[in-house]
């Protein structure tokens, strides 16, 4: 005699519960939070280094750098002038989850912080399932990757609010087609805001900075 028992529970309900708590706390403190996702090497840490150098005297930022094994990225952010920087070493896990984020956030003095960046582990698949309580996911793609990235990772590009196309200094060196990548991305998510930048030359970064200023109530 077999017996069927209804459960009806979200597998990630515990993650979602913690993410909701984080969101509530950040909202209460009026902190805007951005979860940066990309494949390894697209330029997440580089973009944060540039952002710190340009805006650290203007916007008070906290930064969390997730990595599978090392604290290298966190150290780069400290060297770039980050005052509230925390590493999360996942010890093999291919994504950050809300519990890890909660722990890192709890170790930061949030008084006066206006903008929180979370650099996720380099991976466009796994982090898409985990809400960290952020306001927006920002997905980076670089021009050295395929322009079909959005089509390969629709779950991530659908959940992202913003895409940053980095390394435009290298356009023309590969067959990366800017128009095509934008079309592919907008087909998955017509509401995406798109930046085209180079962390090497600084091209396009002013638009990014201005957007961060507007997010934090400036201009």
């Amino acid at each position: 005699m077999s017996k069927k028992i209804e459960i009806e529970k979200k597998v990630l309900s515990e993650n979602d519960r913690i993410a909701a708590e984080i969101r509530k706390e950040l909202k209460k403190r009026r902190i805007v939070s951005l979860n940066l996702v990309s494949s390894p090497g697209s330029g997440k840490t580089s973009l944060l280094e540039k952002t710190l150098a340009a805006l650290k005297n203007e916007i008070r930022m906290a930064l969390i750098a997730g990595d599978v094994q090392t604290e290298n990225d966190a150290n780069r952010l400290i060297n770039a002038g980050g005052e509230a920087v925390r590493p999360i070493v996942t010890g093999g896990a291919c994504h950050l989850d809300a519990r890890m984020a909660e722990k890192a956030i709890a170790s930061i003095n949030l008084e006066g912080i206006e903008l929180l960046f979370i650099e996720n582990v380099g991976n466009l698949v796994c982090p898409s399932s985990y809400d960290l309580g952020e306001d927006m996911k920002v997905a980076l793609i670089s021009t050295t990757e395929g322009d079909d990235k959005p089509l390969k990772y629709p779950a991530m590009f659908r959940r992202a609010s913003v895409i940053v196309i980095n390394k435009i200094d290298l356009l023309g060196l590969s067959d990366f087609d800017m128009a095509k990548v934008k079309k592919n991305a907008l087909q998955i998510n017509g509401g995406l805001k798109i930046f085209e930048i180079s962390c090497r030359t600084g091209d396009g970064l002013n638009e990014w900075y201005n957007w961060l200023r507007s997010l934090t109530g400036r201009q």
Binding site: S2, K4, E8, A93
Partner: protein
Amino acid sequence: MHELRIAESIVQSVLEEMARQNLHSIKTIGLRIGALSGVNIDSLRFGFESIVPETALAHARLQVEEVAVQGECRHCGKNFEVNEFIFVCPHCFSTDMAIKTGQELDLVYIEAE
């Protein structure tokens, strides 16, 4: 491969439920997985099979209901299926829509022997 973590969460939830209901062996675990969940079903099965042999779920089978992506257009109000991840309303071509289904990652039921 976050599917291994997902499999671990499923196993943990099922074991808790078994303890609550005083069950000893499970035949089927029913899941509902949306095409936009970010979970690969084959990887999930692989992850599940790699962790259950030593547990009370050693003979359990995953029964997966796959859910397609359904959108509701915020412009014309019509419902439609999103095919091949093209998120455009087929009626009015708006890209402004609510996702009605397709994001599920649910533990739906268990069936005891």
